[in-house]
Subunit: 93 residues, 2 copies
Amino acid sequence: MSDLAAALDVVGARWALLVVERLLDGPQRYGDLQRDLGVPTNMLATRLRELEAAGVLTRLPLRHNTRAYALTDRGHALREAIVALARWGAEQA
Amino acid sequence: MSDLAAALDVVGARWALLVVERLLDGPQRYGDLQRDLGVPTNMLATRLRELEAAGVLTRLPLRHNTRAYALTDRGHALREAIVALARWGAEQA
DNA sequence: ACGTCGCACTTGCATTTTGCAAGTGTCGAC
DNA sequence: GTCGACACTTGCAAAATGCAAGTGCGACGT
C-alpha cells in the first residue's frame, strides 16, 4: 500500500478531514463540531472514535459530561496537507 | 461550503486521489490504472467520468478502442496536496 | 426531592456508495 | 471469421452514510 493509501485509510473517510481542519483552530466540543460542520451526529461520533484510535486527536475532559477534542502532534501534522487541499479547492475551475 | 469541502467534493471520493496520484507520472491507460491500483473496474470507470467532468483529467485517444487518461493543469495542481498527504502517511504513527 | 435542561452520544432504519463477478461491444491480427 | 485485448457496463450483495428519535447523566432551579 502506498503512503497516500495509508494516509487515506486514516483520514480518507467522509468528514474526517473536515473535522481535523476544524480542530486546527484549537480544541472544540462535540456540539460545536456538529453545528459548525453540519455533520450527522452518528457520523461525528464514529469519526471521532476512529481518529482518536488512529492517534490523530484526544479527548480532554472538561466538566461532568462535557469534553473537548484536541489534535495530537500527529493531527497537527496534517495542517500542510489540509492547507494544500483547501487552496486547490479555492482555485475553483 | 469551505474551500476544503469544495476540494473534497471533487477528489474526496474513494480512489479519486489515488487515480490522480498515479497520473502524476504521466498519462495511463484504463487497464494500467486498474492493475496498478487494484480498484474495482466499475469504480474506476465512475471516478474517471467524474474527474473528467470536474476538469481534473482528459481522455487522449490512442488507437482504435484504446485511450489514455492525462491530468489537466487543474489535475497537476493537486500534486502539492497529494505529496503532503503521502508524506503524512509515510510518517506512520 | 423532583422535574427540566444541556450535552454527548446511541439506536433503528432508509438511502447511497462501494465491491465483486460476469457480460458486452469494438477493432485488429491471424 | 474467430480470437484476443481493451475498455468498459450490468446485476446484485455488502458496507458506509444519513436522518430522526431516543438514552444517560450531572447541574440547576423550585
